[in-house]
Protein backbone atom coordinates (compact mmCIF):
# COMPACT_ATOMS: atom_id res chain seq x y z
CA UNK A 1 0.00 0.00 0.00
CA UNK A 2 1.62 3.26 -1.13
CA UNK A 3 1.53 6.11 1.32
CA UNK A 4 2.77 9.66 0.96
CA UNK A 5 3.53 12.52 3.32
CA UNK A 6 2.60 15.92 1.93
CA UNK A 7 4.75 18.65 3.46
CA UNK A 8 3.72 22.19 2.53
CA UNK A 9 6.57 24.63 3.11
CA UNK A 10 6.96 28.37 2.66
CA UNK A 11 10.39 29.75 3.52
CA UNK A 12 11.22 26.98 6.00
CA UNK A 13 14.89 26.39 5.14
CA UNK A 14 15.77 26.02 8.81
CA UNK A 15 13.24 23.32 9.61
CA UNK A 16 12.17 21.50 6.45
CA UNK A 17 15.24 19.26 6.27
CA UNK A 18 14.80 18.13 9.86
CA UNK A 19 11.08 17.50 9.32
CA UNK A 20 11.85 15.30 6.30
CA UNK A 21 14.47 13.30 8.21
CA UNK A 22 12.16 12.89 11.20
CA UNK A 23 9.34 11.63 8.98
CA UNK A 24 11.66 9.07 7.42
CA UNK A 25 12.88 7.96 10.85
CA UNK A 26 9.35 7.67 12.23
CA UNK A 27 7.83 5.86 9.25
CA UNK A 28 10.25 4.64 6.55
CA UNK A 29 7.32 3.40 4.43
CA UNK A 30 6.15 6.95 3.69
CA UNK A 31 7.22 8.64 0.50
CA UNK A 32 7.77 12.33 1.13
CA UNK A 33 6.67 15.15 -1.13
CA UNK A 34 7.56 18.67 -0.08
CA UNK A 35 5.39 21.27 -1.80
CA UNK A 36 7.38 24.47 -1.94
CA UNK A 37 4.85 27.30 -2.08
CA UNK A 38 7.05 29.82 -3.85
CA UNK A 39 9.76 30.11 -1.19
CA UNK A 40 12.44 32.72 -1.68
CA UNK A 41 14.98 30.98 0.53
CA UNK A 42 16.74 27.59 0.31
CA UNK A 43 13.67 25.51 1.22
CA UNK A 44 13.79 23.51 -2.01
CA UNK A 45 17.50 22.74 -1.75
CA UNK A 46 17.25 21.76 1.93
CA UNK A 47 14.29 19.46 1.28
CA UNK A 48 16.07 17.77 -1.63
CA UNK A 49 19.24 17.40 0.40
CA UNK A 50 17.22 15.58 3.07
CA UNK A 51 16.01 13.20 0.37
CA UNK A 52 12.46 14.39 -0.27
CA UNK A 53 10.82 14.89 -3.61
CA UNK A 54 10.01 18.54 -4.10
CA UNK A 55 7.22 20.11 -6.14
CA UNK A 56 7.97 23.79 -6.65
CA UNK A 57 5.07 26.12 -7.28
CA UNK A 58 6.00 28.97 -9.64
CA UNK A 59 4.69 31.54 -7.15
CA UNK A 60 3.01 31.64 -3.77
CA UNK A 61 -0.49 30.18 -4.10
CA UNK A 62 -1.39 29.92 -0.43
CA UNK A 63 -1.55 26.90 1.84
CA UNK A 64 -4.78 25.55 0.29
CA UNK A 65 -3.44 25.44 -3.24
CA UNK A 66 -0.10 24.08 -2.05
CA UNK A 67 -1.64 21.21 -0.12
CA UNK A 68 -4.00 20.42 -3.01
CA UNK A 69 -0.98 20.09 -5.30
CA UNK A 70 0.17 17.34 -2.96
CA UNK A 71 -3.21 15.59 -3.11
CA UNK A 72 -3.15 15.77 -6.91
CA UNK A 73 0.27 14.13 -6.90
CA UNK A 74 -1.09 11.43 -4.58
CA UNK A 75 -4.12 10.87 -6.82
CA UNK A 76 -2.12 10.73 -10.06
CA UNK A 77 0.43 8.29 -8.65
CA UNK A 78 -2.06 5.88 -7.10
CA UNK A 79 -1.33 6.50 -3.43
CA UNK A 80 -3.78 4.92 -0.97
CA UNK A 81 -2.97 7.10 2.04
CA UNK A 82 -1.79 10.71 2.33
CA UNK A 83 -0.65 12.56 5.46
CA UNK A 84 -0.27 16.30 5.74
CA UNK A 85 2.58 17.57 7.91
CA UNK A 86 3.64 21.21 8.08
CA UNK A 87 7.19 21.99 7.03
CA UNK A 88 7.70 24.37 9.95
CA UNK A 89 8.25 21.59 12.46
CA UNK A 90 5.22 22.19 14.67
CA UNK A 91 3.80 18.75 13.85
CA UNK A 92 5.71 15.93 15.48
CA UNK A 93 6.33 13.01 13.07
CA UNK A 94 6.52 10.85 16.20
CA UNK A 95 2.72 11.08 16.27
CA UNK A 96 2.34 9.64 12.75
CA UNK A 97 1.48 6.13 13.96
CA UNK A 98 -1.39 7.49 16.02
CA UNK A 99 -2.67 9.51 13.10
CA UNK A 100 -2.51 6.64 10.61
CA UNK A 101 -3.97 3.91 12.82
CA UNK A 102 -7.70 4.71 12.30
CA UNK A 103 -7.17 4.73 8.52
CA UNK A 104 -5.22 1.47 8.54
CA UNK A 105 -8.01 -0.09 10.62
CA UNK A 106 -10.59 1.41 8.22
CA UNK A 107 -12.34 3.23 11.06
CA UNK A 108 -11.97 6.59 9.35
CA UNK A 109 -11.55 8.21 5.95
CA UNK A 110 -9.95 11.29 7.45
CA UNK A 111 -8.03 11.63 10.72
CA UNK A 112 -7.25 14.98 12.30
CA UNK A 113 -4.56 15.44 14.89
CA UNK A 114 -6.02 17.61 17.64
CA UNK A 115 -4.00 19.71 20.07
CA UNK A 116 -6.90 20.00 22.44
CA UNK A 117 -7.67 16.40 23.32
CA UNK A 118 -5.19 16.25 26.14
CA UNK A 119 -1.95 15.00 24.61
CA UNK A 120 0.84 17.29 25.73
CA UNK A 121 0.62 20.94 26.59
CA UNK A 122 0.03 23.38 23.80
CA UNK A 123 0.07 27.05 24.65
CA UNK A 124 -1.95 29.36 22.48
CA UNK A 125 -2.51 33.07 22.96
CA UNK A 126 -5.95 33.82 24.37
CA UNK A 127 -7.34 35.51 21.25
CA UNK A 128 -6.33 32.66 19.00
CA UNK A 129 -7.68 30.11 21.42
CA UNK A 130 -11.00 31.95 21.47
CA UNK A 131 -11.05 32.04 17.67
CA UNK A 132 -10.34 28.32 17.45
CA UNK A 133 -13.07 27.59 20.02
CA UNK A 134 -15.59 29.61 18.04
CA UNK A 135 -14.62 27.87 14.81
CA UNK A 136 -14.71 24.49 16.54
CA UNK A 137 -18.23 25.20 17.74
CA UNK A 138 -19.48 26.27 14.29
CA UNK A 139 -17.77 23.39 12.48
CA UNK A 140 -19.08 20.87 15.03
CA UNK A 141 -22.57 22.21 14.47
CA UNK A 142 -22.32 21.81 10.70
CA UNK A 143 -20.69 18.38 10.64
CA UNK A 144 -22.82 17.13 13.56
CA UNK A 145 -19.83 15.71 15.34
CA UNK A 146 -17.56 17.11 18.03
CA UNK A 147 -14.53 18.88 16.53
CA UNK A 148 -11.98 20.25 18.95
CA UNK A 149 -9.27 21.47 16.58
CA UNK A 150 -10.72 22.45 13.20
CA UNK A 151 -7.66 24.48 12.18
CA UNK A 152 -5.20 21.64 12.63
CA UNK A 153 -3.21 20.97 9.47
CA UNK A 154 -1.87 17.68 10.82
CA UNK A 155 -4.16 15.18 9.14
CA UNK A 156 -4.35 11.97 7.16
CA UNK A 157 -6.79 10.70 4.53
CA UNK A 158 -7.36 7.48 2.62
CA UNK A 159 -7.90 7.17 -1.15
CA UNK A 160 -11.42 8.64 -0.93
CA UNK A 161 -10.06 11.72 0.79
CA UNK A 162 -7.18 12.00 -1.68
CA UNK A 163 -9.51 11.93 -4.69
CA UNK A 164 -11.87 14.42 -3.08
CA UNK A 165 -9.21 16.93 -2.04
CA UNK A 166 -7.36 16.62 -5.35
CA UNK A 167 -10.54 17.73 -7.12
CA UNK A 168 -11.82 20.24 -4.59
CA UNK A 169 -9.94 21.96 -1.79
CA UNK A 170 -10.66 25.33 -0.19
CA UNK A 171 -8.38 28.34 -0.71
CA UNK A 172 -6.68 30.71 1.69
CA UNK A 173 -7.25 29.18 5.14
CA UNK A 174 -8.59 25.79 4.20
CA UNK A 175 -8.59 23.45 7.21
CA UNK A 176 -11.96 24.22 8.79
CA UNK A 177 -13.66 24.29 5.40
CA UNK A 178 -11.97 21.03 4.41
CA UNK A 179 -13.57 19.36 7.43
CA UNK A 180 -17.01 20.47 6.33
CA UNK A 181 -16.24 19.46 2.74
CA UNK A 182 -15.20 15.97 3.87
CA UNK A 183 -18.26 15.64 6.06
CA UNK A 184 -20.62 16.74 3.28
CA UNK A 185 -19.08 14.00 1.12
CA UNK A 186 -19.84 11.56 3.93
CA UNK A 187 -16.24 10.81 4.80
CA UNK A 188 -15.84 9.37 8.28
CA UNK A 189 -13.84 11.86 10.35
CA UNK A 190 -11.95 10.93 13.51
CA UNK A 191 -9.92 13.22 15.75
CA UNK A 192 -6.96 11.81 17.64
CA UNK A 193 -5.00 13.58 20.39
CA UNK A 194 -1.53 14.69 19.33
CA UNK A 195 1.11 16.83 20.96
CA UNK A 196 2.30 19.76 18.88
CA UNK A 197 5.40 21.82 19.33
CA UNK A 198 5.52 25.54 19.41
CA UNK A 199 7.18 26.86 16.31
CA UNK A 200 10.94 26.49 16.36
CA UNK A 201 11.73 28.94 13.57
CA UNK A 202 9.94 31.49 11.44
CA UNK A 203 6.65 33.14 12.25
CA UNK A 204 3.13 31.89 11.90
CA UNK A 205 1.63 33.23 8.70
CA UNK A 206 -1.38 34.47 10.66
CA UNK A 207 -0.97 38.01 12.01
CA UNK A 208 -3.45 40.01 14.08
CA UNK A 209 -5.16 41.87 11.23
CA UNK A 210 -5.26 38.76 9.12
CA UNK A 211 -7.01 36.74 11.80
CA UNK A 212 -10.00 39.05 11.58
CA UNK A 213 -10.15 38.61 7.80
CA UNK A 214 -9.61 34.90 8.38
CA UNK A 215 -12.55 34.60 10.77
CA UNK A 216 -14.94 36.56 8.54
CA UNK A 217 -13.90 34.73 5.39
CA UNK A 218 -14.05 31.27 6.96
CA UNK A 219 -17.38 31.99 8.66
CA UNK A 220 -18.84 33.13 5.34
CA UNK A 221 -17.53 29.99 3.64
CA UNK A 222 -18.88 27.76 6.41
CA UNK A 223 -22.26 29.48 6.29
CA UNK A 224 -22.45 29.12 2.51
CA UNK A 225 -21.35 25.49 2.67
CA UNK A 226 -24.60 24.59 4.39
CA UNK A 227 -26.49 25.62 1.24
CA UNK A 228 -24.14 24.14 -1.32
CA UNK A 229 -24.60 20.93 -3.23
CA UNK A 230 -21.57 18.71 -3.51
CA UNK A 231 -21.27 16.54 -6.64
CA UNK A 232 -18.98 13.56 -6.11
CA UNK A 233 -15.56 13.73 -7.80
CA UNK A 234 -14.88 11.31 -10.65
CA UNK A 235 -13.31 8.37 -8.87
CA UNK A 236 -15.73 8.32 -5.95
CA UNK A 237 -18.12 5.37 -6.47
Amino acid sequence: MRRVAIVPALNEEETVGRVVREIRAADPGLEILVVDDGSTDRTQAEAERAGAMVACLPYNVGIGGAVQTGYQYARDHGFQVAVQIDGDGQHDPGELARLLEPIAADRADMVIGSRFLGAGLYRTPFARRFGIRLLAWVVSLIVRQRMTDPTSGFRAVNRRGIVLFAADYPHDYPEAEANVLASRHKLRIVEVPVAMRTRSAGRSSITVLRSLYYMIKVMLALFISVFRRYPAPAEER
Binding site: P58, Y59, H171, D172, Y213, I216, K217, L220, A221, I224, F227, R228
Partner: protein, 123 residues
Protein backbone atom coordinates in the same frame (compact mmCIF):
# COMPACT_ATOMS: atom_id res chain seq x y z
CA UNK B 1 -35.56 64.41 5.03
CA UNK B 2 -35.26 61.39 2.76
CA UNK B 3 -38.48 60.52 0.90
CA UNK B 4 -39.76 57.18 2.16
CA UNK B 5 -39.92 55.85 -1.38
CA UNK B 6 -36.21 56.46 -1.83
CA UNK B 7 -35.49 54.53 1.37
CA UNK B 8 -37.64 51.59 0.31
CA UNK B 9 -36.21 51.44 -3.19
CA UNK B 10 -32.61 51.71 -1.95
CA UNK B 11 -33.19 49.01 0.66
CA UNK B 12 -34.67 46.63 -1.90
CA UNK B 13 -31.80 47.28 -4.31
CA UNK B 14 -29.17 46.69 -1.61
CA UNK B 15 -30.89 43.53 -0.42
CA UNK B 16 -31.11 42.23 -3.98
CA UNK B 17 -27.40 42.88 -4.44
CA UNK B 18 -26.65 40.94 -1.25
CA UNK B 19 -28.77 37.99 -2.35
CA UNK B 20 -27.11 37.91 -5.78
CA UNK B 21 -23.65 37.97 -4.18
CA UNK B 22 -24.49 35.10 -1.83
CA UNK B 23 -25.96 33.06 -4.68
CA UNK B 24 -22.84 33.66 -6.81
CA UNK B 25 -20.67 32.41 -3.94
CA UNK B 26 -22.92 29.43 -3.35
CA UNK B 27 -22.79 28.37 -6.99
CA UNK B 28 -19.03 28.91 -6.94
CA UNK B 29 -18.93 31.59 -9.58
CA UNK B 30 -17.49 34.04 -7.05
CA UNK B 31 -14.76 33.24 -4.52
CA UNK B 32 -15.33 34.22 -0.90
CA UNK B 33 -12.31 36.52 -0.87
CA UNK B 34 -13.71 38.62 -3.70
CA UNK B 35 -17.23 38.53 -2.30
CA UNK B 36 -16.32 40.19 1.00
CA UNK B 37 -15.88 43.73 -0.37
CA UNK B 38 -19.13 43.47 -2.31
CA UNK B 39 -20.92 42.19 0.77
CA UNK B 40 -19.58 45.09 2.81
CA UNK B 41 -20.84 47.48 0.11
CA UNK B 42 -24.34 46.02 0.06
CA UNK B 43 -24.59 45.82 3.85
CA UNK B 44 -23.49 49.45 4.38
CA UNK B 45 -25.95 50.61 1.71
CA UNK B 46 -28.70 48.54 3.27
CA UNK B 47 -28.00 49.99 6.71
CA UNK B 48 -28.14 53.59 5.52
CA UNK B 49 -31.20 52.94 3.38
CA UNK B 50 -33.13 51.70 6.41
CA UNK B 51 -31.55 53.84 9.12
CA UNK B 52 -32.92 57.18 7.90
CA UNK B 53 -31.70 59.27 10.86
CA UNK B 54 -28.22 57.93 10.31
CA UNK B 55 -28.34 59.00 6.68
CA UNK B 56 -29.47 62.49 7.70
CA UNK B 57 -26.62 62.82 10.17
CA UNK B 58 -24.17 61.56 7.56
CA UNK B 59 -25.45 64.01 4.95
CA UNK B 60 -25.30 66.91 7.39
CA UNK B 61 -21.78 66.02 8.53
CA UNK B 62 -20.35 66.12 5.02
CA UNK B 63 -22.50 69.10 3.99
CA UNK B 64 -25.00 67.46 1.65
CA UNK B 65 -28.38 69.24 1.59
CA UNK B 66 -30.36 66.40 0.06
CA UNK B 67 -29.77 63.18 2.13
CA UNK B 68 -30.42 60.65 -0.68
CA UNK B 69 -27.38 62.11 -2.41
CA UNK B 70 -25.32 60.87 0.53
CA UNK B 71 -26.52 57.37 -0.32
CA UNK B 72 -25.32 57.95 -3.88
CA UNK B 73 -21.99 59.21 -2.65
CA UNK B 74 -21.60 56.17 -0.42
CA UNK B 75 -22.36 53.80 -3.29
CA UNK B 76 -19.95 55.65 -5.57
CA UNK B 77 -17.17 55.51 -2.98
CA UNK B 78 -17.57 51.79 -2.45
CA UNK B 79 -17.59 51.14 -6.19
CA UNK B 80 -14.35 53.12 -6.42
CA UNK B 81 -12.79 50.95 -3.70
CA UNK B 82 -13.97 47.75 -5.37
CA UNK B 83 -12.57 48.90 -8.73
CA UNK B 84 -9.25 49.86 -7.22
CA UNK B 85 -9.09 46.49 -5.50
CA UNK B 86 -9.76 44.77 -8.81
CA UNK B 87 -6.98 46.73 -10.47
CA UNK B 88 -4.53 45.35 -7.92
CA UNK B 89 -5.96 41.86 -8.43
CA UNK B 90 -5.55 42.17 -12.21
CA UNK B 91 -1.98 43.35 -11.77
CA UNK B 92 -1.22 40.32 -9.65
CA UNK B 93 -2.88 38.00 -12.17
CA UNK B 94 -0.90 39.55 -15.04
CA UNK B 95 2.33 39.05 -13.09
CA UNK B 96 1.46 35.41 -12.41
CA UNK B 97 0.44 34.83 -16.01
CA UNK B 98 3.84 36.01 -17.16
CA UNK B 99 5.58 33.77 -14.62
CA UNK B 100 3.55 30.78 -15.82
CA UNK B 101 4.33 31.43 -19.49
CA UNK B 102 8.03 31.68 -18.69
CA UNK B 103 8.00 28.51 -16.62
CA UNK B 104 6.21 26.58 -19.38
CA UNK B 105 8.61 27.82 -22.06
CA UNK B 106 11.63 26.70 -20.04
CA UNK B 107 9.99 23.37 -19.15
CA UNK B 108 9.18 22.69 -22.83
CA UNK B 109 12.77 23.45 -23.76
CA UNK B 110 13.98 21.05 -21.05
CA UNK B 111 11.63 18.28 -22.24
CA UNK B 112 12.79 18.69 -25.85
CA UNK B 113 16.41 18.60 -24.77
CA UNK B 114 15.96 15.39 -22.80
CA UNK B 115 14.05 13.85 -25.76
CA UNK B 116 16.93 14.63 -28.06
CA UNK B 117 19.55 13.26 -25.71
CA UNK B 118 17.50 10.07 -25.16
CA UNK B 119 17.20 9.52 -28.89
CA UNK B 120 20.91 9.95 -29.41
CA UNK B 121 21.56 7.58 -26.49
CA UNK B 122 19.45 4.81 -28.03
CA UNK B 123 20.93 5.08 -31.52
Amino acid sequence: MTPIRVSIFAAIAALLLLVVILELVRSRRLQERYALLWMMTSIVLLVFALWRDGLNVLAETVGIAYPPSALFLLAALFILVVLLHYSTVISELAERNLTLAQRIALLEQKVKESDVSQRSDSS
